[in-house]
């Protein structure tokens, strides 16, 4: 490794981009929203976001009424099976949806330094500034996200130039710094073409590129999916360290529960375009309240502990064009009652009187039978001493230490 992270950041002080890189927010004046109601630490506040794709058969309801608050330095993991709409949701947050997709409802309010704008309504200049300067997205496939015919250095400079950092020398210096930060041999990697780098290296290059303009929010779409175990570990450890040091908020889109368990503060289970449960990482893994979350947890093998038989969530994900009546999970749900068919349950706090918007300090689930589901779930995990205890006690014990 070339120098410590701290020295890489603090070393030359290039990390905080000079103010002239900041486009004036005035271009976003028409989209300015009343931020006074937003708590100061909230960087992204999403309400009722709804996205649909137009296809020949009708409208694909890919994202339905999604709301959440994301705080500074917080990591939110969006967990769900493929086709659940989690990537569409992420793309909508940076307005990168394909043309066939339409945001039909909702707001995405971004806040920095007490000023807030609705990302869905800002003009093109402000949008360009918002993307990458404020909110960067790291795409799923590290090979496809890089231009194969340009050296890594040129791709960094491209981004820098597009976002107002016109001095080439500064951009190069910053590129090298960031590549060091993600533990790469900076000089060599900057001069390489993407095909000369391994999958893990490319993923780290993309993470570095995401950090180029020091954004407040970073969205990572399946950051470790195509990587080998040891490389995956490097990327996870890197992300954890970066987020502690840089205090950016992270949105993690993944089907991998283990990745969420590693990195997330908040976890949202996404099913058929909706957040069906959201809570702290401990809530979701040890005290799940939605049958789908329980189903996912019961379908993932672990390395430690006793052997336990696992079962998959039965059935298939629903057709997003023609959703089932009532709760969309009903056809697969072991807890279903006639009530579930009459009405689609809202996301409500599982603690009486708790906040019903997903975010720090709330645990919400969209299920009429949440208490029954929660009661039926018991997960055993092993403590350091090797004795087994039911999980809630274990976490309480650990909290007390």
């Amino acid at each position: 490794m070339n120098g410590t992270v701290a020295s890489a950041i603090g070393g030359t002080g290039v990390f905080a981009p000079p103010s002239r890189f900041r486009l004036p927010w005035s271009s976003a004046v028409d989209a300015r929203v009343d931020g006074s109601k937003l708590p100061k630490e909230v960087v992204l506040s999403v309400r009722d976001l709804t996205v649909a794709y137009r296809v020949r058969r009708g409208m694909v309801q890919a994202v339905r009424k999604v709301s959440f608050d994301l705080r500074r330095g917080e990591t939110l993991a969006l967990i769900g099976e493929s086709g659940s709409g989690k990537t569409t949701l992420a793309l909508a947050l940076v307005r990168l949806l394909v043309r066939a997709a339409k945001v039909t409802d909702g707001t995405v309010v971004y806040q920095r330094d007490g000023r807030a704008v609705d990302v869905l309504r800002v003009g093109s200049d402000a949008l360009r500034h918002y993307r990458w300067n404020e909110c960067a997205m790291v795409f799923q496939s590290a090979l496809n996200a890089l231009n194969p015919v340009l050296r890594v250095r040129e791709q960094f400079i491209d981004v820098a130039r597009a976002h107002g950092m016109t001095n080439r020398a500064t951009a190069v210096a910053r590129t090298l710094e960031l590549l060091k930060l993600v533990q790469l041999d900076a000089e060599r990697v900057a001069g390489s073409y993407p095909h000369e780098l391994s999958g893990g290296m490319r993923q780290r290059v993309l993470i570095a590129m995401g950090l180029l303009l020091d954004p407040q929010v970073i969205i990572l779409d399946e950051p470790t999916t195509a990587l080998d175990i040891l490389t995956q570990r490097t990327v996870i450890d890197l992300l954890r360290r970066l987020k502690e040091e840089r205090q950016f908020a992270l949105i993690l889109v993944s089907h991998d529960l283990a990745l969420a368990a590693e990195l997330a503060d908040q976890v949202a289970t996404v099913y058929a375009g909706r957040i069906v449960e959201c809570g702290s990482v401990a809530d979701i893994f040890y005290r799940p309240n939605h049958p789908y979350t329980v189903g996912l947890l019961n379908a993932v093998p672990t390395l430690s502990g006793d052997f336990r038989s696992l079962v998959s969530v039965r059935g298939q994900p629903p057709d997003l064009i023609d959703l089932p009546r009532g709760c969309s999970f009903l056809p697969r749900c072991p807890f279903g009652t006639p009530e579930c068919e009459r009405e689609d349950p809202h996301l409500v706090s599982v603690v009486p009187g708790g906040p019903s918007i997903p975010g720090a300090g709330s645990h919400t689930a969209a299920c009429f039978h949440a208490p029954t589901v929660a009661k039926g779930f018991s997960r055993r995990l092993q403590t350091e001493q090797g004795d087994e205890v039911a999980s809630p006690d274990a976490s309480a014990k650990r909290g007390a230490r």
Binding site: I229, L230, A282
Partner: protein, 351 residues
């Protein structure tokens, strides 16, 4: 505990003699390329008895898929032998060779590529049934195809017979691929990452189906995966072999290998795997490697190929000679004795 848990290594169909059904003897797959000799598989020995489950685990490029193809007879090793029922498969001719072909089947990784999109499920299954004489007429083939679909939990099977692959999900396609492997009533199936393309929520049900086949039909499996947690689940009661750049570095009973890993590489892998349990996964102690660089197959390190990364590296020992796969404390190299926990490491072997 559960039926799955009670699975024994000895299958009910084995004749008690414990003669392996299939044996790889020191197989190598060396490929000359313009840039040099690639040693994709370098001296792997492995055997499986009737009905046994063996998992091969390793990172991409470690040679696990190549080993699987060699076991299925799709690649002829550049040296070493593959024995089926004790006979070298390269010497089998005619009916004997067909018996081997029927006896060992392969399920590929990608069900989107391995099934002909122009054929219905029924046609896909009928072709091998007719070709290998398992069905005398097309209606008999259709009946048998329906039975096979029931067997892999594609029910009601009548609904699936006339479907085309594009009408099926990834998990359903993989079930068709398994049913196709079962048409010729194999005794051993090489499954190469069969669930990696399948969604998490239904992975387990596919594995459970395969485990049921093992229990009910006595079919053995060589299960190739990069996911140790899946391997542990699938091979519970069977064995896991860990491969690293072309060599087997550790081989043992699944439960034992995961709970009590010996080789520094296995230990590093196990400590690096994130687990779906926040407390557990954040508390794990990591085994730090000396280098993150995976060696190039064109320029493998001398001696133990893991030595440049190994935290237990000892100068004058590890880079000098190649460690043999053997049980700790034993001086004889274990070709493959079934219940021994064997490790290829100088430091571990010394005790």
């Amino acid at each position: 505990m559960t039926a799955v848990n009670a699975r024994s290594v000895d299958s009910p169909t084995s004749d008690g003699s414990h003669a392996p059904l299939i044996t790889l003897e020191n197989v190598r797959w060396h490929v000359p390329t313009p840039r040099g000799l690639v040693k994709a598989v370098d001296g792997v020995s492995l055997s499986a008895r009737d009905g046994e489950i063996v998992c091969l685990v390793g990172e991409s490029g470690c040679g696990k898929t190549t080993t699987g193809k060699i076991a299925a007879g799709l690649l002829t090793p550049t040296s070493g032998r593959v024995l089926y029922e004790g006979r070298d498969i390269s010497s089998l001719r005619g009916d004997d060779f067909n018996r081997f072909r029927r006896g060992v089947q392969l399920v590929h990784q990608d069900p989107y590529a391995s099934i002909n999109p122009m054929h219905t499920v029924g046609a896909t299954l009928s072709a091998p049934l007719r070709r290998h004489g398992f069905a005398g007429s097309s209606s008999a083939a259709r009946t048998r195809a329906a039975e096979l679909l029931d067997l892999v939990d594609l029910t009601p099977s009548k609904d699936f017979l006339d479907k085309y692959p594009h009408q099926l999900s990834g998990g359903q396609r993989q079930r068709v691929a398994i049913a196709r492997a079962l048409t010729v009533e194999p005794r051993f199936i090489v499954a190469d990452e069969p669930v990696s393309m399948v969604d998490v929520s239904i992975r387990i049900s596919l594995l459970n189906t395969m485990l049921r086949l093992q229990r009910e039909l006595g079919t053995g499996f060589l299960f190739i995966t990069h996911d140790l947690a899946l391997a542990r689940y699938f091979a519970w009661g069977g064995r896991i072999g860990v491969m690293y750049v072309g060599r087997m570095v550790e081989l043992g009973l699944a439960s034992d290998l995961v709970a009590n890993p010996q080789h520094p590489y296995t230990r590093a892998l196990l400590s690096a795997i994130p687990e779906a349990d926040p407390e557990l996964t954040r508390r794990k102690t990591r085994v730090e490697l000396r280098s993150l660089e995976i060696p190039s197959l064109l320029k493998l390190p001398s001696g133990c190929t893991f030595h440049p990364r190994c935290p237990q590296f000892e100068t004058g020992l590890c880079e000098v000679s190649v460690p043999q796969l053997r049980a700790p404390g034993s001086t004889v190299a274990e070709l493959d004795s079934s219940n021994v926990h064997a490790v290829a490491c100088h430091v571990v072997a010394r005790g």
